[in-house]
Amino acid sequence: MPAPAEIAGLINPGDVTQVENLELLSTRVIDGILSGRHKSKLKGGSAEFAEHRAYTMGDEIRQIDWKVYAKSDRYYIKQYIEQTCLQTLVVLDASGSMKFGLNAPPKFAYARALAVCLTRLVLRQSDAAGLAVVDDDLRAYIPPRSTPNHFQSLLSELKSASPQGETSLADNLQKVLRRMKRRGLIVLLSDCFDDVEHLAKVFQMIRTRGHDVILFHIMAPEELTFEFSGWSRFRCLEQLGMKLDLDPAFVRKEYLANVQTFLKQLKQRCGELGCDYVPMPTDRNLGEALAHYLKRRAARVKVQ
C-alpha cells in the first residue's frame, strides 16, 4: 500500500489517518469465492467446512468425503464456507461542474481525495477496488482488483483525471453497470447535476442487479448558499459559451428553492431505492465526514 507521502498530493494525510482503521463494509453478503472480510453465500472449496450432502449424479468425484464413505459405506460430498472479495467500484464524476470551488476546495479535488481514501480503504481490507471516471462519456475504467499494486494504477488514473465536459451521469453509470460482472458496491462521487429521475432509474437498475450503491453527494457551499452580490456574469463550466448576466441577489430565492427541491428529490429517491445518500459539502472536513459515515454504516451492517 503506497505510503501516505505518495498520495499527499491528492489527499490530506490527516484525512487518511482518520479512516485508516475503519472498514468499508457492504450491506449485502456477496456470493462467490470468499476471500477477504466479506462472507459469501457461495458454498464451494475453501478452508472452512460447512456441511455434508449426499452425492448426486453430476457432483465432482473429488468432492466426495472418503472418510465418511469408509464409515458409512455411502457417498457424501463436503461443502465449505467461502469468503469473497468486496468488488468496489468508485465512480468519479469528472464533468465540468465538478471544477467549481471558491472558498472551499474544488469539488473534483474533494471527490478525488475521497476516491483515494475509499480505494485505499477497500484495498487495505483485502477487497477489490476499481475506478471509473465519467463525464459525458466513460473516460476511464479500471476493473476492481485486490492486488496490492492495484492502488498504484488507481492513483495514477486519479492523478491524471481532470474535470471537463458535460454531465452524463446516468448514461455512464449504465455503462459501468454493464462492466460489473459480479455483485459489488458502486460508490458514486458526484454533484449529480443530472436529471434526478433518470439517475434514480439507473440506481434502481443497479440495485436490481444486486449491487450496493453509495452516493457521496458533493456540493460546494456557495452552491448551497448562493450569497453573491453585484451584477455578475455566470459562465457555465460545462457548456462552452453559456453564460448568464444577472444580479445574483435578485434570483437567490428561486435558485435556493430549486436546489432545495433537487436535494430533497435526490435524497428521497436514494432512500426509496436503498441507496446510501451521503451529503459531502466541500467545506466539511473530509476525514471526519467519511469516518462518521463509515462508523454509521458499519453499525448498520452488523445489526443486519
Binding site: 465540468g96 461542474s97 465538478m98 471544477k99 467549481f100 469539488k107 454533484d191 447535476f193 453527494h217 456540493m219 460546494a220 452552491e223 448551497l224 448558499t225 448562493f226 450569497e227 453573491f228 452580490s229 453585484g230 451584477w231 455578475s232 456574469r233 455566470f234 459562465r235 457555465c236 463550466l237 460545462e238 457548456q239 453559456m242 448568464l244 448576466d245 444577472l246 444580479d247 441577489a249 435578485f250 434570483v251 437567490r252 430565492k253 428561486e254 435558485y255 435556493l256 428553492a257 430549486n258 436546489v259 432545495q260 433537487f262 436535494l263 435524497k267 445518500y277 451521503v278 451529503p279 459531502m280 459539502p281 459515515y293
Partner: protein
C-alpha cells in the same frame, strides 16, 4: 415654450450622472465560473426580466427626477394648446331681441331658431374659454357684469337665462352693441376675442348710412392687442316675400284733456312687407271697452293709410286707448298700438290782468275769460266754466302772493314791467314744468320787456323786442297771419283753414321781435311778410309763449275770429301739458308718477312689458314724493300699481315703427361689412380662420413639474426599497442533510 429662468437649463447635463452610474455598475460585473447552471437558468429567466425592468425603471425615474428639477427651476411657460386645450378664447354672444326676431315662419319664430344656433355655439365652448352675453336692444345691456368661465354649470345657467328671453317690441342697435363689446377691456390671457352676433340680418339696427359708428368700430378693432373676430351669424329665413301690416303710430292733438271733451285718434297703418296684404279690420279699444272698428283695404307693399276714431272720456284718470289689426301676418306684434290719455276734470289756470279796469270783462281779459267758457249765473252765484278750465283772475300786484305751482298755466295779459322777484318766481315756475303765456300790449315798452323777459338771452323770452309797429286806431292798415305750422301741437288745429280762420286775423299794431338774436326760435304765428308774432321757448320742463299783441281788440281783431277760442284752448293745453307726467314715453324716457300715486301710502309695483313685476322702494319721508323709473329700454306698456288703494297708472313706451320693416342687409351692405377688419359673415360657429395669426398664451407649469417631481421621488424610493427587499429576502441557505 419659453423659460423665466433659463440659466437653470445648464443643469440638464446632470442627467448623465444616473446614466453613468448605471453603465458603470454594468461594467463592473464579476465573472463567475459556475457549475449549477441547471438551478440558475430557470430562476434567472423570469427574475432577470424583472430585474432589468426594475433597474431600467429606476434609471428612468432618476433621469426624470433630474429633468423635472431642472425644468421646475427654469420655470417654463407652456403654450396652452400644448396641454390639449383649444386655446383660451374670450367669447361674447350678441343677442338680437328686436321685434323683427318675432317674425314667424311655418310656426317657428326667428328668435327660437336663433336660440338653437346659440345652443350649438355653447356646445363648442371649452372650460378654458370665457363667455359673456350682451342683449343688443336699443340700448345694449350686458347679461352679466363680468365674463364667466365656460364650465358646464355656468353654460347651463346662461343657456337657461337666454332661453327665458323673448323678442321685444323694440329695435336692435347692433353697431352700438359691438362697440360696447369692443370698448370693454380685453382679457390678455385669451388668445382671441370672438364676438358672435346672432341676428336676423335686418338692415335696421346696422346704421349702414351712418359712417360714424363704423369708423369707431374699425378704430377699436385696430386698437385691440389680441385678435378680434366679429362673426355675423344670421338666422336664415326661407320665405323671401312676406306681407306685414303694422300700426306705425297713434296720433292725436294732445293726450291730456278734460273730461267729456272729444278726442280724435288716428292710426297710421303701413304695409312694411314685400307682398300685398289682404283686407282686414282694425279694432279700437279704450281699456277693455270696444270703441268700434275701422276697415283696412288691401295695401300694396309700402303703402300707408290712416284710420281714426273719436272718443269722449267720461271719467277722470289715465286711459289706454289702443287698437289692433285683426290679421295674421309674418309679424303679429306690430299689429297693435297704444296711447295713454290723461283725463282731468279741471285745469287750474292763473290769469294775471295787467289792466287797471275794475271789471275784467271790459278789458282784454274779458275776451280771454269768455273763450274759457265763463258763464255768470247771477248775482251772488259763483261763475261756472264750461271748458274744463278753472281760471283764477288776479292783478299784477297780487301775483307775488300766489302759489304758482297750483296752476297748470299762467297767462299774463298785457303785463306791466314786473319786479325782479316776480320775474324770477315765474322763471322758476316754468323751469319746474309750468306753462306761461305772456300777451304783450301797451303796458310795457320794448326796453322794459327786454329787461324783464329777455335778460340778454337768459330770460323766459327767446327774443328781445326791437320796437312797436302799427297804429291801433288805423283799422285800414293791418297785417294778416301766415297759416301756422300744422305739425306743431300748439298750432295743428289752427292750421286747419277749412274749419278755422286764422288767415283772417287782422293785426293793427304789434311789438316786433328781433329774430336775428336767435336763429332757431320756435315761431307759432307769423305776420304775412314773415315777422314773428308769437314765439315760444322751452325752459327746464316748462314752456313759455310770448304773443306780441294783446288778447283784446285793441291791437287786433283776434277775439272776434273763430281761431281765437281754439288758440286759447290749444295754447293753454299745450302750456299745461309739461306739468302733467308723461304717459306716452320715448325709449329710455323716465316714468314719473304724479302726486296722487306718490302720496298714497304702501308699496308700489311696476309691471314691465315682459310681464315681470318689480316692487319699488319709495322714500316715505321724502317731501316731494317724486318717483322716477328709468328702466324703460323696452317698448310696450308699463303699469304702476299702488298696493294701498289698487290705483293703476299706465304708461306706454312707443316702439320704433321702422323695426317692422323686415328688409335684410343687401349684398352691397354685406360685402361692405365683410371687408371691414375683423368681420366675417356666416363663419362656422366659434372656429378661428386659419389665416388669423394668434399669440397663444402660455401658462407656467413649474408647480406641476414640482408635483410630478415629488411623485417621481416617492416612486423611486418605493421602487428602490422594493428592489432592496428583492435582493435581500430573508431566505435561509440550503443545508445538505444525510
Amino acid at each position: 415654450m419659453s423659460f423665466l429662468s433659463p440659466i437653470f437649463l445648464l443643469g440638464l447635463p446632470l442627467v448623465a450622472i444616473p446614466i453613468g452610474i448605471h453603465l458603470l455598475n454594468r461594467r463592473q460585473q464579476k465573472v463567475l465560473n459556475w457549475g449549477a447552471m441547471q438551478f440558475l437558468a430557470p430562476a434567472s429567466t423570469r427574475r432577470r426580466r424583472l430585474w432589468k425592468m426594475s433597474d431600467l425603471l429606476l434609471l428612468l425615474l432618476r433621469i426624470l427626477a433630474i429633468l423635472f428639477i431642472v425644468g421646475a427651476l427654469s420655470r417654463p411657460l407652456l403654450p396652452v394648446t400644448w396641454l390639449g386645450h383649444s386655446g383660451p378664447r374670450s367669447v361674447v354672444l350678441v343677442i338680437d331681441p328686436s321685434l323683427s326676431m318675432a317674425a314667424n315662419e311655418e310656426g317657428e319664430i326667428l328668435f327660437d331658431r336663433m336660440l338653437d344656433k346659440m345652443d350649438g355655439l355653447l356646445e363648442e365652448l371649452s372650460p378654458s374659454d370665457t363667455l359673456q352675453v350682451i342683449i343688443a336692444g336699443d340700448n345694449p345691456v350686458w347679461m352679466q357684469e363680468l365674463p364667466v368661465e365656460a364650465n358646464p354649470s355656468e353654460i347651463r345657467r346662461i343657456r337657461s337665462q337666454i332661453r327665458q328671453l323673448e323678442p321685444t317690441l323694440g329695435g336692435a342697435n347692433l353697431t352700438a352693441a359691438i362697440h360696447r363689446v369692443l370698448d370693454t377691456p380685453e382679457d390678455k390671457e385669451k388668445m382671441i376675442r370672438i364676438i358672435n352676433v346672432l341676428s336676423d340680418g335686418q338692415s335696421v339696427g346696422w346704421a349702414m348710412n351712418d359712417a360714424t359708428p363704423w369708423a369707431e368700430i374699425n378704430r377699436l378693432v385696430e386698437a385691440q392687442e389680441r385678435p378680434t373676430l366679429i362673426n355675423l351669424d344670421f338666422v336664415d329665413q326661407a320665405v323671401s316675400e312676406q306681407a306685414n301690416l303694422s300700426v306705425d303710430e297713434l296720433r292725436t292733438v294732445r293726450t291730456v284733456t278734460a273730461i267729456n271733451q272729444p278726442v280724435t285718434v288716428e292710426a297710421l297703418v303701413h304695409n312694411r312687407g314685400t307682398k300685398a296684404t289682404a283686407a282686414s279690420v282694425l279694432h279700437w279699444y279704450s281699456e277693455d271697452e270696444s270703441l268700434g272698428i275701422s276697415s283696412i283695404p288691401p295695401l300694396a307693399p309700402g303703402s300707408l293709410m290712416t284710420v281714426s276714431v273719436t272718443h269722449t272720456f267720461d271719467a277722470t284718470g289715465h286711459f289706454d286707448l289702443w287698437c289692433e289689426i285683426d290679421i295674421r301676418d309674418v309679424l303679429d306684434e306690430d299689429n297693435e298700438a297704444h296711447l295713454i290719455f290723461t283725463i282731468t276734470d279741471s285745469l287750474p289756470v292763473l290769469i294775471v290782468d295787467g289792466s287797471s279796469q275794475a271789471d275784467p270783462l271790459n278789458t282784454d281779459v274779458g275776451y280771454l275769460l269768455a273763450s274759457l267758457g265763463f258763464q255768470e249765473e247771477g248775482s251772488g252765484a259763483s261763475p261756472t266754466w264750461q271748458s274744463g278750465f278753472l281760471p283764477k283772475l288776479v292783478s299784477t300786484s297780487e301775483l307775488a302772493q300766489e302759489t304758482l305751482e297750483s296752476y297748470r298755466c299762467i297767462i299774463l295779459a298785457n303785463p306791466h314791467r314786473l319786479s325782479r322777484s316776480v320775474s324770477d318766481k315765474l322763471q322758476s315756475y316754468v323751469q319746474n314744468g309750468g306753462g306761461l303765456w305772456v300777451s304783450l300790449g301797451d303796458a310795457i315798452t320794448p326796453s322794459e320787456f327786454n329787461e324783464t323777459w329777455y335778460r340778454d338771452g337768459v330770460g323766459l323770452s327767446p327774443l328781445p323786442l326791437i320796437t312797436t309797429i302799427g297804429d291801433p286806431d288805423n283799422r285800414e292798415a293791418f297785417k294778416h297771419l301766415q297759416p301756422p305750422n300744422e305739425s306743431h301741437p300748439a298750432t295743428q288745429l289752427l292750421a286747419d283753414l277749412q274749419r278755422l280762420d286764422i288767415d283772417r286775423v287782422q293785426v293793427f299794431r304789434r311789438h316786433q321781435f328781433d329774430e336775428l338774436q336767435a336763429l332757431e326760435t320756435s315761431v307759432l304765428l307769423r305776420i304775412d311778410h314773415g315777422d314773428a308774432l308769437a314765439v315760444e321757448q322751452g325752459i327746464g320742463r316748462g314752456r313759455a309763449i310770448f304773443l306780441a299783441t294783446p288778447l283784446g281788440l285793441t291791437w287786433s281783431n283776434f277775439p272776434v275770429c273763430q281761431s281765437y277760442v281754439a288758440m286759447v284752448h290749444e295754447w293753454i293745453w299745450y302750456l299745461a301739458a309739461p306739468s302733467f307726467p308723461r304717459h306716452n314715453l320715448a325709449l329710455g324716457e323716465a316714468i314719473l308718477l304724479d302726486a296722487s300715486m306718490t302720496a298714497a301710502q304702501g308699496e308700489l309695483s311696476i309691471q314691465l312689458p315682459n310681464d315681470t313685476t318689480l316692487d319699488i322702494n319709495r322714500q316715505e319721508n321724502s317731501p316731494k314724493q317724486v318717483f322716477r323709473f328709468t328702466k324703460t329700454q323696452e317698448p310696450g306698456t308699463y303699469t304702476v300699481t299702488s298696493a294701498a288703494n289698487g290705483q293703476r297708472s299706465p304708461f306706454v313706451v312707443i316702439r320704433d315703427p321702422n323695426e317692422s320693416t323686415l328688409a335684410k342687409l343687401d349684398a352691397a351692405a354685406l360685402s361692405k361689412i365683410s371687408q371691414m377688419p375683423g368681420f366675417q359673415i356666416g363663419g362656422r360657429n366659434l372656429s378661428v380662420p386659419s389665416d388669423l395669426e394668434l399669440e397663444i398664451p402660455t401658462t407656467p407649469i413649474a408647480n406641476s413639474l414640482l408635483v410630478t417631481l415629488l411623485a417621481l421621488v416617492v416612486g423611486e424610493l418605493v421602487l428602490a426599497a422594493w428592489c432592496t427587499y428583492q435582493r435581500n429576502p430573508k431566505i435561509a441557505a440550503v443545508t445538505m442533510e444525510g
